[in-house]
């Protein structure tokens, strides 16, 4: 076998293309999951049964299914009913749906933790529900929800490796292929783990900084 430094140089380009895919999958599903999650949370705290019950059932339903099954379902079953998706699209969709539940619950927790007095004060100056949510409740709810939201982000990043099962060529998938063609499991998977840490450690650090800054502003 060639020396370690040469092997690292040989594997790195392939793993980095996988890393970019991981970042793309994570960011896209994070944006979608956050938007959907916010929608579930707003529906559940709308005060209307017609909105809150469907949101509750959707969240309960999706949370009860493992990510892998959701991914298989979207990638393999949807084409049978006419919805043909690329592996990448199916992967983003599956992650986004699953994580919209976690993120939705995180936002809902934040909304419910806002002091009742804030809602009364907003009402007492004549605010209607929508404006009250936008200007008074959500800014405070986001601040409360930020630490758990950061956790969700890191978990989503790590769970993006699950989309390798439907052949999305992200970091874990590239590692698996490289390892099976070179039999150099130790080097390849150590590099894969290190590359994930290159994302998660700065992300954790960033979240802490943002939390401190937001905390200081009140």
């Amino acid at each position: 076998m060639s020396p370690l430094s040469e092997r690292i140089q040989e594997y790195l380009p392939l793993l980095v293309t996988g890393l970019w895919q991981t970042i793309a999958v994570t960011l896209l599903s994070l944006v979608l999951a956050s938007a959907l999650g916010l929608m579930w949370a707003l529906m559940r705290s709308s005060g209307s049964r017609w909105l809150s019950l469907p949101a509750r059932y959707i969240v309960e339903f999706l949370r009860g299914i493992p990510i892998l099954v959701v991914l298989f379902y979207i990638y393999f079953v949807m084409p049978e009913v006419g919805l043909d998706l690329t592996a990448f699209q199916a992967g983003v969709m599956g992650l986004a749906l699953t994580y919209s539940c976690y993120i939705g619950e995180t936002f809902r927790g934040g909304i419910e933790a806002v002091d009742r007095g804030q809602i009364e004060a907003a009402k007492s100056i004549g605010m209607k529900h929508g404006k009250m949510m936008r200007r008074i409740v959500l800014p405070q709810a986001f601040r409360i929800a930020l630490p758990p939201y950061g956790n969700n982000m890191v978990m989503l990043l790590k769970d993006s490796s699950q989309v390798s099962v439907i052949s999305v060529a992200e970091l874990t998938m590239q590692g698996k292929m490289l390892a099976s063609s070179t039999f150099d499991n130790m080097t390849v998977f150590t590099m894969v783990a290190a590359l994930y840490l290159c994302l998660t450690i700065p992300l954790n650090f960033l979240m802490r900084r943002v939390e401190l800054k937001m905390g200081a502003a009140t």
């Binding site: 007095g117 804030q118 004549g126 008074i136 800014p139 601040r143």
Partner: protein, 243 residues
Amino acid sequence: MIRFENVHKSFGKHEVLKGIDAEVDKGQVVCLIGASGSGKSTLLRCVNGLEDYQSGRISIEGETIDAHAASIHAIRTRVAMVFQRFNLFPHMTALQNVMEGPVHVLGEDRDEVRARAEEHLRRVGLAEKMDFYPSALSGGQQQRVAIARALAMRPDAILLDEPTSALDPEMVGEVLSVLRDLAQEHMTMLIVTHEIQFAREVADGVIFLDQGRIAEHGGAEEVLSRPQNPRTQEFLRRVTHPI
């Protein structure tokens, strides 16, 4: 201006207001007193629809208050409220708190509102604190910002729910003195309070609530100095001579 006609209100089976009839005229200051659980805060909160009531009628300048009607939002812009625990918006500075309603609910011009808001904050003695967040202000300062926030709406009347009860004793005076100024300018106010001395000095009328009923209602001097009802006498004795 604010009229209560046979107002009944229950929380489940428990009836907290058992037929309230009263009136607050324009420019009057009326204090609601009574033991805790007598229904005085509930009555106050019914006026701007933070609570609903089951029967009877509450009206402002003839317009009926219905907590569940769409009209409640417009009514609330005319009847401001000051809370026991201030309830300032913690993510906004004092000035932003005062500007929030006029700019974002009434849709008034931002520059014009800012000038007015600064003037209100100056009047309550907080010219130096405009850009502070509520967490950097004392309780008394926060409550004065809350009063400025209420005034900025240019309301027809202000409802105050035990405005000094959550304050440290040394801060009660600064808030009462702001309210005294407002009373002198004939701001219509309905105040739930335990400050009997303040009520005696400032109020035009005093309503003594006892177990959901008006036990005594009249001029401040009349009710507080020569109470007729034994419940009022007993209550005043306990409040003014606690030991």
